[in-house]
């Protein structure tokens, strides 16, 4: 985590041949992109403004969820210098937590014939988020205790393999527990999927779904809360200290194991919230739900600069928007949206390996 910007002066780099090649490549890539954008936007002009607004809305909503999950990757990386590949599965467990609360609440029929779910939408949603967050936080806590803590001193590669193993284990455990079929989230009536405010743009109805707006607003609030915790609280200061140097932090009286546990709990809470949002907005969850968002969020974290919290937020949003606007803007098939997302990742690693907002690497991480 590079919360504290050090005031290191940029070093004047020499013009090596590698740097020249990269610069030429960058100019070619940018020229190609601009040419493609010009063709699609000006020459073909297939899509009116209402379509671009729809693309952006889809992108912002999914971007918010990616950002919440990406923060989990970044927090854990900042502290343990490992990629927690089981994080997507932690999110899936949260999605199931919310699912079961909604199932429970919608099975309670009140005296006026309404279900508890429909009668108290706000309370039901709060309960669902609480359950989802708790489930994911518990999963994250035990994941660290069982799978990662015994390997604290092991080489980083071993932790990575353990994380992949934990991911497969959680996925298959969920399949055995909950069955392989996709399950439908029972939203409260007020939050019916697909319903929302209608805005007329260019004589066409653009829908701002309630579920989407709720997801987006909530993800912004959660990100702000996290930023506050990391920057302004004692726990946040301890987390930053541990991320910079574990040994010195321990010498200063910080319980490193405790801070690591709490980091996993916090990233679990955020992933759980993202899981419940995923369920409420997209509607279907199964044991596989966490896999793709997990990979995408990892991409987002790298895009923003892994280990950098605002970077994860920005990376998530950028990735969401690129995925929904990119194929149309470049005139490509929509199936290629992942190709675009991962191409951006590769370009980013080539030209700016530290990510959009940069990553502060301490000696230990290198």
């Amino acid at each position: 985590m590079s919360m504290t910007k050090s005031s290191v002066q940029p070093i004047q780099k020499p013009w090596t041949s590698g740097r020249v090649i990269r610069l030429v490549l960058a100019i070619i890539v940018i020229a190609l992109l601009l040419w493609r954008l010009y063709t699609v936007l000006v020459v073909q002009a297939d899509y009116g403004p209402e379509t671009w607004v729809r693309f952006s809305i889809s992108g912002l909503i999914i971007g918010g969820m990616y950002a919440l999950i990406a923060i989990g990757y970044t927090l854990v990386y900042g502290i343990l210098f490992m990629i927690n590949f089981a994080h997507g599965e932690v999110m899936m467990i949260g999605a199931f937590g919310g699912y079961f609360i909604f199932e429970l609440l919608s099975s309670i029929v009140l005296s006026n014939g309404q279900t508890f779910n429909d009668a108290n939408p706000a309370l039901s949603i709060i309960l669902a988020f609480a359950a989802g967050g708790t489930a994911s936080a518990v999963a994250g806590y035990f994941l660290e205790r069982i799978a990662y803590r015994p390997l604290r001193k092991a080489p980083r590669l071993i932790l990575l393999i353990t994380a992949i193993g934990a991911s497969t284990f959680l996925q298959n455990a969920a399949m055995l527990l909950f069955g392989p079929q996709r399950r439908d989230y029972t939203n409260p009536e007020a939050l019916t999927r697909g319903s929302g405010w209608t805005v007329v743009i260019n004589n066409s109805n653009v829908t701002l779904t309630y579920t989407g707006v709720m997801s987006f607003v909530l993800s912004i609030i959660l990100m702000a809360a996290l930023y506050y915790i990391v920057q302004r609280t004692k726990l946040g200061r301890a987390m930053r200290a541990v991320s910079q140097d574990k040994n010195s932090a321990a010498l200063m009286g910080i319980d490193v194991d405790d801070v690591i546990s709490k980091t996993f709990i916090i990233s679990g809470l955020l992933a759980g919230a993202a899981g419940v949002m995923w369920g409420i907005h997209n509607g279907l969850v199964n044991h596989y739900t966490g896999f793709l968002p997990g990979i995408k969020a990892f991409t987002a974290a790298v895009l923003g600069g892994i280990g950098n919290i605002p970077g994860a937020m920005v990376g998530g949003m950028v990735l969401g928007i690129v995925e929904s606007v990119g194929p149309a803007a470049l005139g490509l098939d929509f199936q290629l949206k992942d190709v675009i997302a991962f191409t951006i990742l590769i370009l980013m690693l080539l030209f700016r390996p530290s990510g959009l907002l940069g990553e502060a690497l301490t000696e230990e991480k290198l």
């Binding site: 297939d46 899509y47 009116g48 209402e50 379509t51 729809r54 693309f55 809305i57 889809s58 992108g59 909503i61 999914i62 298959n172 399949m175 392989p180 079929q181 996709r182 439908d184 999927r193 697909g194 929302g196 066409s204 109805n205 653009v206 829908t207 779904t209 995923w278 907005h281 997209n282 509607g283 279907l284 596989y288 739900t289 793709l292 995925e323 929904s324 606007v325 194929p327 149309a328 098939d333 929509f334 199936q335 949206k337 992942d338």
Partner: protein, 430 residues
């Protein structure tokens, strides 16, 4: 320190247990293939050749993950088993294509309940058959219905990028253009996702009247639910046999009203009701919920076992003549062994529901099928079995009649068009 010692002691015990585990129980490991699960007790005595033996069928359900690599691995594993005689799969078209050459070399007849890509029967394979209807027939029926009966002229075609979905969407688009309609958009989606609003918005910008989708329930239901919010209000969703089923109704609710699909789900009959009841009782879920292919899989299993019964010879004195003259020789089943019928599909992973459903349906067929009785050893001439499946005619299954043509197309009943009316799949008036 004591804690650390306790840990090492535990570790050593665990290692010893792990090492001893298989060794301590070698008995069931070795004779597993001959385990007399279904056979009567007297069959276990080896020299009792004159005793009446009973050869039961056994289902071997394998997980190919719906991928060509997985399918090839499964096929290679199964053909190595001398008591494996027939394959009720594979489930997905891409996986099936990879597995066909392996069964071809080993003389194993296939009868797939769900692999519908048209090219599969064009390769001239002697072993591959299917009781699913082909996408050619399905696409023609769908395009004609959209153009003639619904009277739409602007079609958007979408697919999931798979062999099945893309082939189907392309065929519908070709048929529709040939009839004089206009295909305004042709888009692919990434399967397994739950948010397709971006691609739907792009399709909406081309203002189609009907949206054809080639793919499966999971994606079809998501598309149907997100059409209105993406600017496709009032556009008709037209699916395929992959989007038919109770699951689609459940997942789309009110959004699904007026959606079309093609299917091979049979009308109610006593046999179908009996199967439905058995399936529901055993697996706690009704057939058609996990995948639309439950009935087809049941039929495929029964048809294969019927063919085995037709060609099998029980002989107490050595190999019968049929084995010597057979191009692939005989599968030899000793008393106490079972006749293995295979199934292969995605039993884990994103499409797990499909594979599990079909293997469960086939399990019901296999467990209820009467064993072959006789004295001696059972011989199944493999080449004759391949021919018997290919020449099968008028086999009455619960999902329709199975009559195999020379190329291996065995569905003689054709697709049925259904539409959702008042939350129920109803046959559409043509």
């Amino acid at each position: 320190m004591t804690k650390k010692y306790a840990f090492y002691v535990l570790l050593i015990v665990a290692v010893m247990l792990a090492a001893c585990g298989p060794a301590a129980t070698p008995a069931p490991e070795e004779p597993m293939p001959e385990a007399p699960t279904q056979a009567p007790p007297e069959a276990t005595e080896a020299p009792a050749m004159e005793e009446k033996a009973s050869f039961a069928f056994e289902l071997v359900a394998e997980d190919d993950g719906a991928s060509p690599e997985g399918a090839a691995a499964v096929a290679n594993k199964l053909v190595a088993d001398p008591t494996f005689v027939a394959m009720g799969g594979h489930a997905f078209s891409g996986a099936t294509a990879a597995a066909i050459p392996i069964y071809e070399a080993a003389g194993i007849p296939m009868l797939s309940p769900s692999a519908t890509n048209p090219d599969l029967t064009k390769s001239g394979s002697a072993v591959f058959n299917r009781n699913a209807f082909t996408d050619v027939e399905q696409a023609k029926a769908a395009a004609e219905f959209i153009f003639n009966n619904l009277g739409f002229t602007k079609l958007a075609a979408m697919h999931d990028g798979g062999d099945y979905g893309q082939g189907l969407a392309q065929l519908v688009a070709d048929n529709f253009t040939a009839m004089g309609g206009e295909v305004v958009a042709f888009e692919a989606i990434t399967p397994g996702e739950t948010d397709y609003t971006a691609v739907l918005s792009a399709v909406a910008a081309k203002s189609p009247e009907v949206l054809y989708f080639g793919g499966y329930n999971a994606e079809g239901a998501v598309i149907t639910n997100q059409m209105a919010q993406s600017g496709l209000e009032g556009v008709v969703f037209f699916g395929c046999d992959g989007t038919f089923g109770a699951d689609f109704l459940e997942k789309t609710g009110a959004n699904g009203e007026g959606a079309y699909a093609t299917t091979l789900v049979p009308a109610s009959s006593p046999e179908k009701d009996a199967f439905d009841a058995a399936y529901t009782e055993r697996f706690g879920v009704a057939p058609g919920v996990l995948s639309p292919y439950s009935w087809n899989a049941f039929d495929a299993g029964n048809a294969l076992m019927t063919a085995v019964t037709q060609v099998a010879v029980v002989s107490a004195d050595g190999e019968p003549e049929a084995c010597a003259s057979d191009a692939f020789g005989c599968a030899v089943i000793e008393p106490g062994q079972t006749i293995k019928v295979g199934y292969s599909g995605p039993i884990t992973g994103d499409y797990a529901a499909f594979g599990q459903d079909m293997s469960q349906a086939m399990m019901i067929a296999v467990d209820a099928f009467p064993p072959i009785e006789g004295e001696g050893t059972l011989y199944i001439p493999r080449g004759a079995l391949v021919t018997a499946v290919r020449t099968m005619s008028d086999f009455q299954g619960i999902a329709g009649t199975i009559t195999c043509q020379e190329n291996g197309e065995c569905n003689a009943s054709g697709p049925v068009l259904y539409v959702i009316q008042d939350g129920v799949w109803t046959p559409a008036a043509r």
